[in-house]
């Protein structure tokens, strides 16, 4: 394997094989498993500066020393020695849709990326396997000085910006999978919005895991400068493969003074994927950070997007749904950390589980000693749709300041029989009625999505609901 990898690095290895959809031969891969040599190999393949190699190597040391999480779902089936930590499918970053390799393009075609781009999006960046293969940016945005590119390119082109923020909100030692990502990260999105610039249309990126055993470790870094505003949408879907696959992303969002950022994710990977992500934002003075987070797929999801409100008057929100179907263990929630005066946060979490799925909410609200006058409101609602499924709600509310207010509410129930009865008494069949109730339950979430996503999400839920009655 080492010989092949070496050959690949020299450009002597595999080449593109067109014609077979979803069967792309990677041109560079480090093979299974992870050693210091793998980390050096990844960095060398990307011609990275020394500081990034150092960062990776230190993170790798941390990763080796750290324990697996001591809470949440069972991660023991995850075999970290049989994961492919890096592969590259395309040796170039395409600027135009036409230049994207045909079979990759077809896969995205089916997912509707170009259409979305035409109608809604200012720029589009699609990640296939480990690197960005398609990248386009609206001319207007470029004129306004917005930087929107894959993170690898950003390391080369904007080293000072990247270096200032990279790994600062989520240091490698934060958790084992953040350390892993820091060691082997590849791809991901970099966005910088200059002072006062407001991006009107959503910026979108599409992530996708393809081959079994491939690990995807994208690294996203967003900086919204003072008074600026951006709405970023990330969507995921993947075909079904039998071997387990790991996805351990790190996303850092810096929302500076008076700025605004919304980060929307729809995650619908196949149910063989372990999705162990670390997403964190900081909001400075009077800044607003909003997470909109939908989790429909993956075998195991552990994800707790957080907002550190570090400036006076900062605001953080989380709006999430989790749909745990058969064999799915979804352990998600939000963390709102109030570190400054008069900050406010809200969490709305909707969970559904059926066919033996497990949808757990694990969240945290913390008011630090300097959070005078701050407020938080949390609502968690869960519907357990059948006898096989289960749900835990595990919130932690820590208050270290006497002058704050916090409200937390949660409800767990089955589908309301009264609502069902009402609808069925009006001639609506049971399956349709159930679907209507579920749609109503998730509506606060779907109505916050861009139109196309809302349509797609509704379709996905309909699909999940098929055969749920009877």
């Amino acid at each position: 394997m080492a010989e092949t990898a070496k050959a690949n690095m020299l450009g002597l290895g595999g080449k593109y094989q067109y014609g077979f959809k979803d069967d792309i031969q990677p041109i560079l891969t480090t093979g299974e498993g992870l050693t210091e040599a793998t980390v050096r190999q990844i960095s060398a393949a990307k011609h990275e500066p020394d500081w990034m190699l150092d960062f990776r190597l230190k993170a790798f040391q941390r990763y080796q020393a750290m324990e697996m999480p001591d809470f949440g779902p069972d991660l023991s089936p995850l075999d970290l020695d049989h994961i492919n930590y890096f592969r590259r499918d395309s040796d170039r970053v395409a600027r135009k849709w036409e230049d994207v390799p045909e079979d990759i393009k077809k896969t995205f075609d089916r997912l509707g990326v170009p259409e979305a781009e035409r109608k809604y999006l200012a720029g589009s960046s699609a990640q296939y396997e480990s690197e960005v293969v398609y990248h386009n940016m609206h001319e207007q945005l470029e004129k306004e000085g917005i930087i929107f590119m894959d993170t690898d390119s950003a390391v080369q082109k904007h080293p000072e910006l990247v270096r200032k923020y990279f790994g600062k909100l989520i240091p490698p030692a934060d958790n084992k999978f953040a350390a892993l990502n820091s060691a082997v990260w590849s791809g991901g999105t970099f966005i910088y919005v200059p002072k006062g610039v407001k991006v009107k249309t959503p910026i979108q990126s599409y992530f996708r895991i393809n081959a079994g055993n491939s690990g995807q470790f994208e690294r996203t870094l967003i900086i919204v400068d003072e008074g600026a505003s951006v709405n970023y949408v990330e969507g995921c879907t993947a075909p079904n493969y039998s071997e387990d696959s790991l996805h351990a992303a790190v996303v850092e969002v810096n929302v500076l003074k008076d700025a605004y950022c919304r980060y929307t994710t729809i995650q619908n990977w196949s149910n063989n994927v372990y999705s162990l992500e670390t997403k964190r934002a900081q909001a400075l003075e009077n800044a607003t950070m909003e997470w909109v987070d939908g989790n429909l797929g993956s075998k195991v999801t552990m994800k707790y997007p957080s907002v550190y409100m570090n400036g006076e008057g900062a605001h953080g929100t989380m709006l999430s749904i989790a749909f745990a179907g058969k064999n799915i263990d979804s352990d998600t929630g939000a963390r709102m950390i109030h570190n400054a005066k008069n900050t406010s946060s809200s969490i709305i979490s909707k969970s559904l589980c059926k066919d033996g799925g497990k949808a757990d909410y694990r969240g945290k609200v913390r008011f630090g000693p300097h959070s005078d006058g701050s407020k938080s409101h949390v609502e968690c609602d869960t519907i357990i749709m059948d006898e096989e499924s289960s749900s835990d709600t595990i919130p932690v509310n820590q208050v270290k300041n006497g002058n704050v207010s916090m409200e937390h509410e949660a409800k767990v129930s089955k589908i309301s029989e009264e609502q069902l009865y009402y609808l069925m008494s009006r001639g609506i069949p049971e399956d349709k009625a159930t679907e209507m109730i579920i749609m109503g339950f998730v509506e606060p979430f779907t109505k916050e999505l861009p139109m196309e996503y809302a349509v797609e999400l509704n379709r996905l839920i309909e699909f999940q609901m098929e055969g749920s009655v009877g």
């Binding site: 869960t382 595990i394 919130p395 932690v396 509310n397 006497g402 207010s405 937390h408 509410e409 767990v412």
Partner: protein, 429 residues
């Protein structure tokens, strides 16, 4: 059979108190287990470094009743007063005995009702080897009370107990109550925990309630353990079919304490209402972990916790509603509310729901905030000064437990205690 000779401490104590051999054996088993057992985890309550483990030797102590002279004790109809390991007063127990109701202290219980103690002591509600704290408790237990109410017996007057820790010398306070309520019976029990003396000491207090089918237990307590006492307080009920327990607990302690309150709803239709109010003052930490587990179908578990935090103190409320698979039609609801009266106060409200069945209703609410501004405005606009208005609002906030105290006398005592704690706390602001 374990050789008593290798445990001279237990052997000596057994000889002094003539306790039965099975208990000494159980103590030895428990003591051996302490080497392998760990401290239990109560969510975010970090008590592990407190002097909560029982370090003092197992010893018989006689306490001096004269030290209780200044203590206010209710002249209740059915009354038991214990000071340390010494029973000081027993009133009105004959009329109970006539109905077959047993109320007696630990030593008497072992002598006269050994079979009852053997059957229920750390066997059904709590297992002796559940964790390090329960095992240490069994190994070091020196005082307690047995109450047995036979079936089909309804008691109209509450049974009142005062358990007063003797902290005039350095000895652990290890106390155990077994309350067995037979089928179709009804009892109201009022417990008072207090401390006399200033020695830094450790208390390990366990109450086991066995509520058999169709019984109804009203359990009220006012806990006022001293400033230098570090306490592990575990109260746990095991409920049969359609049995009901109403817990009303006032946590007015001055020292650090972990309160672990559990109800196991085993029989179909069993019902637990747990109400806890707490005031933390000074620099103390009170951690309260209240759990209801719905095992049986159509069981109902409700938790209500209201707490007030003053000065630099900490109050942590964990509430856990756990519905086990198969508990069809079960209901788990909880509410935890914290009032912060000082900027340096610290509080956690962690409401947890663990739901393994779908045919259930479950919910929780938690809040942390300051005293309601509108209520304050209303009272102050009527001429009340701020601190008095604050105390009135708080008294209303603590109402759910106040109202459930079965004795007017103890209720007014509790009000006075609350008032005292609040005035004390307000001074620091």
């Amino acid at each position: 059979m374990t050789n008593l000779q290798t445990y001279p401490e237990i052997a000596n104590y057994a000889q002094q108190t003539s306790e039965p051999a099975w208990l000494s054996d159980l103590r030895i088993k428990a003591w051996q287990q302490t080497k392998h057992l760990h401290l239990p985890s109560f969510g975010k309550i970090r008590y592990q470094r407190w002097p909560i483990q029982l370090e003092q030797p197992l010893e018989f102590h006689q306490s001096n009743p004269k030290l209780l002279q200044n203590l206010k004790i209710e002249a209740a109809k059915h009354l038991v007063v214990q000071f340390g390991q010494t029973t000081v007063q027993q009133t009105g127990l004959q009329s109970l005995a006539a109905k077959g109701v047993i109320v007696c202290d630990w030593v008497t219980a072992l002598r006269e009702h050994e079979d009852l103690v053997k059957k229920y002591f750390m066997q059904q509600a709590i297992k002796y080897d559940q964790d390090l704290l329960t095992a240490q408790h069994v190994a070091k237990l020196t005082s307690g009370l047995l109450i047995y109410v036979p079936k089909n017996t309804v008691l109209t007057e509450p049974i009142t107990s005062y358990f007063i820790q003797d902290a005039t010398s350095k000895q652990d306070f290890v106390h155990h109550v077994i309350l067995i309520v037979g089928e179709n019976s009804e009892v109201s029990y009022m417990e008072n925990l207090m401390t006399v003396g200033e020695q830094p000491t450790t208390a390990s207090v366990i109450v086991e309630v066995i509520a058999q089918d169709n019984s109804h237990v009203k359990f009220a307590s006012v806990d006022r353990l001293g400033k230098n006492t570090t306490t592990y307080l575990n109260r746990r009920a095991h409920l049969g079919k359609n049995a009901k327990i109403d817990w009303s607990m006032g946590m007015m302690n001055d020292g650090n304490i972990v309160g672990d309150f559990d109800s196991d709803l085993v029989g179909a239709g069993a019902h637990a209402e747990t109400k806890v109010v707490a005031i933390s003052t000074g620099r103390q930490v009170q951690g309260i972990d209240t759990r209801v587990t719905n095992y049986g179908p159509h069981t109902i578990g409700h938790i209500l916790q209201h707490g007030v935090i003053l000065s630099r103190s900490t109050l942590i409320f964990n509430g856990i509603g756990h519905i086990i698979k198969g508990a069809k039609g079960a209901d788990a609801q909880q509410e935890s509310r914290l009032l912060m009266l000082s900027p340096k106060a610290k509080g956690d409200a962690n409401p947890v729901l663990l739901i393994d069945d779908n045919d259930v209703t479950a919910g929780h609410a938690a809040s942390v905030g300051r005293v309601n501004a509108e209520q304050m405005y209303y009272l102050m606009s009527r001429g009340l000064h701020k601190k008095l208005a604050e105390r009135l609002v708080i008294r209303g906030f603590l109402g759910p437990v106040l109202a459930a105290i079965p004795s007017d006398w103890i209720r007014s005592q509790l009000k006075a205690t609350i008032e005292g704690k609040l005035i004390d706390g307000q001074k620091d602001e």
